[in-house]
Symmetry: none
Subunit: 209 residues, 4 copies
């Protein structure tokens, strides 16, 4: 049955999201999928190919759904919200994508280069474009890059640091309500500074350090 293949991806998504590529075990994945231990090799060839399959499955447009016709400020807010939604409580595959990417950043796998080029890069480039328009600088400018980093950093933080946050912030939980509050904060925090950066370029008033 192809059902086994699907169950394998489902189980692998959970395991890779939780433990990362290196610490995830084929045994665990097969067990959760109710499949034989040889199933991974049969359906995907090896552990790495399964990992790629999971990533392909999980990518699906964190930010792609954001329309391009609206203004850059609204696009940014929508992208931040979309990313956090995707991270925390997507209906399907909740949180896979960002948690896997978090692992990939910290402990690169054999497919690191492909993942960066095909998955992370495009989304980062789009974000740079939007931010460039907000601050009035080209996407490749250092200021644009630094600003894009600042925005994406705040989002990723909640993917990377969930266990730490939960330990340091009693009562914290990544539910729908929380995600909304976090998204609003990040958007507000970022836009405030980005607008100031634009104003600083048409010198009105200093907001320097």
């Amino acid at each position: 049955m192809a059902a086994t293949r699907a169950r394998l991806i489902e189980a692998a998504g959970e395991v890779f999201a939780e433990h990362g590529y290196h610490s995830a075990t084929v045994r665990d994945i097969c067990a959760r999928a109710g499949a034989n231990i040889a199933a991974v090799n049969y359906h995907f060839g090896d552990k790495t190919e399964l990992y790629l399959a999971v990533i392909r499955e999980s990518v699906c447009s964190a930010t792609d759904l954001v329309p391009e016709e609206i203004g850059p400020d609204e696009q940014l807010v929508a992208m931040i919200t979309a990313m956090l939604r995707k991270m925390g409580l997507a209906a399907e595959h909740p949180g896979w994508h960002f948690r896997i990417m978090a692992h990939e950043m910290v402990a690169p796998t054999p497919v690191f280069a492909r993942v960066v080029d095909e998955v992370i890069g495009p989304q980062y480039n789009r974000l740079r474009g939007v931010i460039g328009r907000i601050i009035g600088l080209p996407p490749g400018h250092e200021q644009t890059r630094l600003a894009a980093n600042s925005v994406v950093a705040q989002v990723i933080f909640y993917a990377h640091g969930r266990p730490v946050i939960e330990r340091l912030w009693p009562g914290f939980a990544m539910n729908k309500r929380t995600v909304t509050r976090i998204a609003r904060h990040i958007a507000s925090f970022s836009l405030c500074s980005l607008r100031a950066m634009r104003r600083a370029r048409r010198p009105l008033k200093e907001t320097t350090l």
Copy 2:
């Protein structure tokens, strides 16, 4: 000689920073240290104790050097700079601390709780205190926490994401010049919004989303 012990910590620091606790191997560490495979057991008992020794060695006050007498804005800038310095180009153990913490966040180890409570927690609390004073809210307030997260997220991003950044940003390198530019950007980006948060509390004008 205690020299072997020191070489072991040195080698382990590099390996743990690069691969994280789980993927680091005692064999690799001993080989790099030019020591026997049993040296870790002799000097530290087991892999975990060596890991803790490395963390203890690497902690040494990312932010502790920042004086407490200066104003909160200056403290924040100094802390951001100190963290980035520590991360990127500390004279000794370059980058260990934050890279290890990055691994710890993404893939918690058996000593996760201790590390969070004894290492991450205190520094995070100090940061919350400073930010609370800037925005005029108590350290435990949700707004203070979210703001602290936004600041620390931007710093940590460069520890987590170095491999990705280097791939996406041609010519990027974590040298002294770059660190200074990044620090200045993060400080500027954050202070701009933090000050706006304070102003928003004494309602003058909306900077909302």
Copy 3:
């Protein structure tokens, strides 16, 4: 094939009987079984589970075959004979059971308690019951216990002490002939005293020390 599993138990029985749990090595067992080093883990989980499997295999009724309808004297003789047979020249797994139990007594393993409760205990209790009937005392009485110990001690001696006996008694060999002679001696030696104990309880004449 389940053949490997069987060969593993066979080899493990020999090795555990010879060296005991602690000194037996998985490598040795796998080598004798013509199996890979990982075979034990695959078929049994770990060394301890293999050990339990061997014990389960070897238990099989040293004394269970003795019918309960015959008189207690005949039961005792039959039990002694059965135990010695089982120990020395059982068709299958010759001598495993008692030699493993000997190791277990002298150097308790992690499963000591289970082995005593589930394997040794029941057989010892049955023996106490029979001896209690012979000497006319309840099974829990100290005299009954001491007498049961004296009987079982004589049997076990040949399991424990085989190497020593073979060195001290030139020409000794644990063959069918010898076992018969030993069984007859132990039965005679024991019954003689047990009957005297019964007589002593209906005071006729002292046979004391």
Copy 4:
């Protein structure tokens, strides 16, 4: 200091008696003796030589103290009592000798042959002599050997099986009172049958099986 050497033997005696040669570790012994880990090799050469030193120390005549002038029955009783005393509650080195011998029987060490020839053999031979006189047969006769085995088996049982006995016999403890009761039982149990064996040789009455 020679004091270290003595403490080493003292500690080694306890450890070897408890765990046997194979499972005892040099580390444990040195730690208990408050000595350096290299102390064993310095003072004794290696683990085996230390083991031999402990055995030499522990031998000291379980039965040698029994006078030879008294009648064989009295000698036997005295020997049984002496062995049990030595085993359970000797003032010095309590229980070393028999527990170590128990290990040696079940799991022969590299010095097995020497131990049997020099330590076990002589005592066994003396016992055979005494029993031979009781039953009126030469020491080398099969009946004499079997009878000697029956006696020594009962004594050794309490050295081998202490952990099992303690589990199967609630309230059992190897104190002075218990040792006396056990010694009296074994002597009574054995002498009763031995005397019957002598009578059987001068045919008066059957003591059949």
